[in-house]
Amino acid sequence: MKRFVLFLFVVVLLSMIMFVFEVPVFGVDSCVCFCQTPLDRQELLCGQLAGAGRCVSELSSSPVRILNLHRNRFAIRMEDDFFWALGCSVEVPTVSVCELLDQLINLFCFYNGSVRHSYQLNSQETLASRWAQYLSHLQSGSSELQHIFSGLKTIDSTNVDPLLLLKAALILQACQRCPLVLAGCILFRGRVVSTQMSPQLTMKVMVHESETYTKPQRPNGQSSSFGSAVSSTNVFLTPSELQYLQSTPVDKDFSSHSTPHRNTPLKKTRLSRTLSDTPSSTESSDPGSSQSPQKLLSPHLSESSVYSSDPSQSTPNPPPPQPLEPPLSNGKHSPEEESLEESYYHSFHSNGEGGSQIDNGGDSSAFGENSHLHGGGVDGACGEEFNFREAEESHDNKVSEEVSGRGCGRVQGHEVERPDPPRSDAFEHPGESPLIPMTLYLHRVKGLVLALLAHLRSVSPGVPGAPGPYIFAHFDCIQSTLTLCCCVCVCSQPVWSTGGAPERPFVRATSLLHSHFCNTETLQEAIIRSAGAAVYGTRSVAQETYFQQHGGSLRNSGIPNHQDSAFSLPGKARHRLLKHGVNLL
């Protein structure tokens, strides 16, 4: 029997060279690898790292966490007979690579259950490709700064009609009224519009979203049969994640339904109803499935009435505890909103057929970008609309600040009441721990994806920053979101990852300061200056913000001088960032 005690990832993060390989117990089985470096090099590295790591952990009676070479840095996780190593360039802060490794392992467990179990059930090749998938997802399109913070990508709320955000929140709330739905999120092209889940969980859910775009057929064949617009897959929650979801205020009203066991009878009835017209490929995949909540969730979710935004349809359920403002919920729908409903109906009524058409169309496009599912036309429309908003920025800013402030406040209000969300550093024992199976349901309409664990989030396009002579990065620690703005160049994500641009010094400074903030609890703000750039960093419990001013004379002697422009950075940051909705006071 193949039993892996050790597998090792080596990933060169910044250059995006990835190779994954796994070493079986005592080297009995052959290594699987797909990589750009010679096999023996990997085998060697694998064996040496694991061996030396084992030896050090014995000396110190504690697992190794970080291992540095001259040219690479590895985050290590050792547990039972498992050994993970995630390598990256030495420029990536230690905290970040450790976090990334934890995320990766958690992600694997989320979709595959316990590691040991998965390795007993599946071939090395299959699992290797899954690891690769998760890894590439975690790295996909992200800037160096995202590697540092590993935050969620969200829409820029200052550039979105606040009504949309509110709508999104309402949809999610409506969905949650269904007792089987734990939580949901709405995503838009890899960005979060609205979510009821913890950032960590949202991040996990997003993998499936992007994955199903790129590969309509999931490798483990668990995905579903609702057509390409609707899909479901088995996922696994950790006990703490489940507890967190179950303790949301909304669920409290239905607490009797929220645990999987109590749901069982209800589930069954719904199951029989909805499965009648959908082929159930999920049935066979999991022997214990009749008990599993996801079984119940998926059919339930396929009922449009539950989360339709039409108020008349949602009335059967009691309203959520928070009073909603009628003008907003009943007001004019934004175009996205309407199209969401419309296509929702479409997909619901025509079910598999309509979906497959879309799917076929998508297959013809070269790469599995989101766009192929809804076609360029729609894309363009969205883009235009957002551009249009941008032009009206000054007006919108006020409104959006006001409304999103309220909207977010409400969403965050939930979070405050919840127990601490499970952090990625909360060690969940990926090898063995009891994981609770669930079903993740996804419904996509023109780039918008409703994911229910149920969960919904909505998202908007990239971050078009207002032109200005400064760069900033704002990390919201609570929501785990990163806002970037490099205002000199018209900014799109790739600029950040090129590495040669004027952002390079900013990235380096931010990376150093972030590490420093992580290691020094009492540190509140810092200014650091090299010959080329001065960067201001400040943090509070809820946020970390980094700011660099371009231009202006940096000529100085380095001798202390209160007229030195570097020391006016805090004031400038406060002033400038207010425009972006970031309050540093």
Partner: protein, 674 residues
């Protein structure tokens, strides 16, 4: 939980030092061997068994991947730092959270520096160094290791408690009049008298300095001496502190003081103890290990364990025997590292020491050896790079240039008592080989080069490391002469000594409201100024005493390591708001007239680069050279300022303080001391 280990490529332990906790940890993993009684060999075996897999893995990685481990961190925050110098692998471990990765790397580099100061160019031959560090004779080995362990402990103690070793710059006593008088005294009276005495046995005093604890009172270099580098001076201070530890922090903390930190209580002033009249106390040369209060032995098991390390105690050597030290010499015709000197460390009173550095009569041999070694090393490098033998030998300096010199050198050696037959053979072999060519020629020649280097190092070892001279006429300043020097300086300083001891604790005072502490360093001269941070009961510093002072001290220490991390990444200005404090760090350049030069690029170094400082590796010398490239023909000076302010002070005011400090601090001390 601390440990430092040096290992050869074959995983043979060349040196180890552990603190009692680590020692116990290792012993507990080999419980059985603890009981059978022979402490040292058993412990050495267990430590080598435990580390062997890591060492072997390290060497495999270098061989096969050209990369190797620089550090490990475990989940319970044990840190392992690894660094390879030639064929010696250094591993430093911390498991008690008291040291960061940077501290461990620094410790490794400092250990290497101390070994260089002690063994000179023998360190250039891994083979010889291995034998030197691990003598066959177990008694000799125990004695050597104990000495190295003690040096390491002294260094660690200084780094943790002394600001000048924190920032790695020499601190001077600020008293211009007295300093000048002393320098004049050293020059006109002491050195002149010593160098004109017949009892000096061919040695010549080059440098003389007086230390009050670790602070420099006066330093004099004779006219034909080269400058003593800061790195060497700091290493010598460690050695002298190791021989005569300052008891500055030995005072028992008074429990009452811990309560009276509010500052309202009566301030106690330092009253020096009457100096001991018993002059015999100065004649003990061996380090008094117990007087460095690094550990408190509470656990009897630990006590026993520690004792077993020292079962092979040997009688201390003759106190009048100087230490052989190898120091850098810069002459007109170049820089010569690791030139042999003798170091005489003469205690005047507890805490006050006179140090004499002499040039030994045969030191010219060392220069020749270095020239030859350099030529062979360069040739070997060219051959390794793949140059053809004939082409490689034409590089600078050419083998033909040194050929006749080396012939003459070997001939001269033949006439002396130095065994040079082997060198003669290898040289003849080399000369025969170089004329040839053909396949495998390069490889053969490389081996020949290595052989020559080993032989040259061997000759150097015979000349400078083995005690020479006969028993009746040892080559050194006679004990009588040493004693006379001691008495002369004692007479000179008799009236000042109490003042000096107090002064060394309260060197300067501050009068900037809100300013809590500062350190100012002149990196061009390697000197620093800072208010005292002594935190023991008797030595009240500007900050008072007790927990608050201890807290500030820990803040200052962490600030230094933080700013070094930023400097390593190219940042020369750093301000931090941390808790109730505001920290500033500035590094800037000036020309000789005090004109502030524009801030330039500072190289960005990798995480595992040599530690930033001046003791083990002179970062600032490199930095100055780098910066001066754009300032040809100008003398560039480099300064650093660190400040700690209360966080409530407006930033404006803080920056003004910094400015004033930066411009005023060096004014009273501009007179040349070094």
């Amino acid at each position: 939980m601390k440990c430092l280990l040096i290992s050869s490529q074959s995983a043979e332990v060349l040196f180890h030092w552990t603190d009692p906790e680590f020692y116990q940890n290792v012993q507990s993993q080999y419980g059985a061997s603890q009981e059978d009684g022979h402490g040292l060999p058993a412990f050495e075996d267990s430590i080598s068994t435990l580390f062997a897999p890591i060492i072997i893995s390290c060497i495999t990685m270098v061989d096969r991947l050209g990369d190797s481990y620089t550090s490990f961190t475990t989940e319970n925050n044990h840190i392992y730092v690894l660094h390879q110098f030639d064929e010696c692998l250094y591993i430093a471990v911390n498991g008690d959270g008291e040291e960061e990765e940077g501290d461990l790397r620094r410790k490794i580099y400092v250990m290497k520096k101390m070994i260089e100061v002690m063994f000179g160019m023998v360190t250039l031959s891994s083979n010889l160094l291995r034998r030197e560090l691990r003598p066959q004779d177990t008694e000799q080995r125990a004695r050597l290791w104990e000495h190295l362990q003690s040096l390491l402990e002294t260094y660690s103690h200084l780094r943790e408690n002394d600001q000048s070793f924190l920032v790695e710059a020499v601190e001077r006593l600020i008293h211009p009049t007295l300093c000048e008088q002393c320098i004049e005294f050293l020059e006109r009276r002491l050195v002149q008298q010593l160098n004109s005495s017949v009892e000096r046995a061919g040695e010549e005093v080059l440098h003389a300095f007086i230390l009050v604890h670790t602070k420099l009172l006066a330093f004099y270099s004779s006219r034909n001496a080269s400058t003593l580098s800061t790195s060497d001076l700091l290493a010598l201070i460690i050695m002298s502190q190791n021989m005569y530890p300052s008891n500055t922090d030995q005072d028992d903390p008074n429990p009452e003081d811990i309560e009276s930190t509010s500052g309202s209580g009566p301030e106690s002033f330092y009253t020096p103890e009457p100096s001991p009249t018993d002059m015999d106390s100065r004649s003990s040369d061996m380090p008094v290990r117990e007087s460095t209060p690094l550990f408190e032995f509470v656990d009897p098991d630990v006590q026993m364990a520690e004792d077993s390390l020292h079962t092979l105690e040997v009688p201390p050597p003759d106190p009048s025997t100087p230490r052989r030290v190898f120091l850098e010499v810069s002459l007109k015709d170049g820089l010569f590292p690791m030139m042999p000197h003798s170091m005489y460390c003469l205690p005047l009173w507890p805490g006050i020491t006179l140090v004499l550095l002499t040039k030994i009569p045969t030191s010219a041999v060392a220069m020749s050896v270095y020239t030859f070694l350099e030529a062979f090393a360069k040739l070997e490098k060219r051959l390794n790079e793949g140059q053809e033998g004939s082409a490689a030998t034409r590089g600078q300096p050419t083998i033909h240039d040194i050929r006749s010199k080396l012939d003459k050198f070997i001939k001269a050696l033949g006439a002396s008592e130095i065994q040079s037959a082997q060198l003669q053979n290898v040289w003849t072999d080399f000369k025969n080989r170089i004329g040839r060519g053909g396949p495998g020629f390069n490889r053969e020649l490389i081996r020949s080069c290595k052989n020559m280097k080993t032989q040259l190092c061997g000759v150097y070892r015979q000349c400078f490391l083995i005690e020479s001279g006969t028993a009746d006429s040892p080559r050194r300043l006679s004990p009588g002469l040493q004693e006379r020097a001691q008495t002369m300086v004692q007479d000179k300083l008799m009236d000042w000594k109490d003042f000096l001891l107090v002064k060394s604790k309260r060197n300067i005072t501050m009068d900037f409201p809100g300013l809590i502490h500062f350190i100012c360093v002149d990196r061009s001269t390697g000197q620093m100024i800072a208010p005292s941070l002594n935190i023991t009961e008797r030595n009240v510093s500007e900050l008072g005493k007790g927990p608050l002072a201890q807290f500030i001290k820990s803040k200052v220490w962490s600030l230094v390591s933080t700013t070094r991390r930023y400097l390593q990444k190219g940042y020369s200005t750093v301000t931090l708001r941390d808790g109730d404090f505001y920290f500033c760090y500035f590094l800037w350049f000036e020309n000789e007239t005090g004109y502030k030069l524009e801030a330039g690029d500072i190289p960005v170094l990798p995480d595992d680069s040599a530690p930033i400082g001046m003791l083990a590796w002179d970062y600032y010398r490199k930095l100055l050279r780098y910066y001066s490239k754009n300032h040809q023909g100008e003398v560039v000076k480099c300064y650093e300022l660190l400040t700690v302010h209360l966080g409530v002070i407006p930033t404006e005011v803080i920056l003004q303080h910094c400015r004033q400090l930066a411009s005023k601090l060096w004014e009273p001390s501009r007179n040349p001391l070094l």
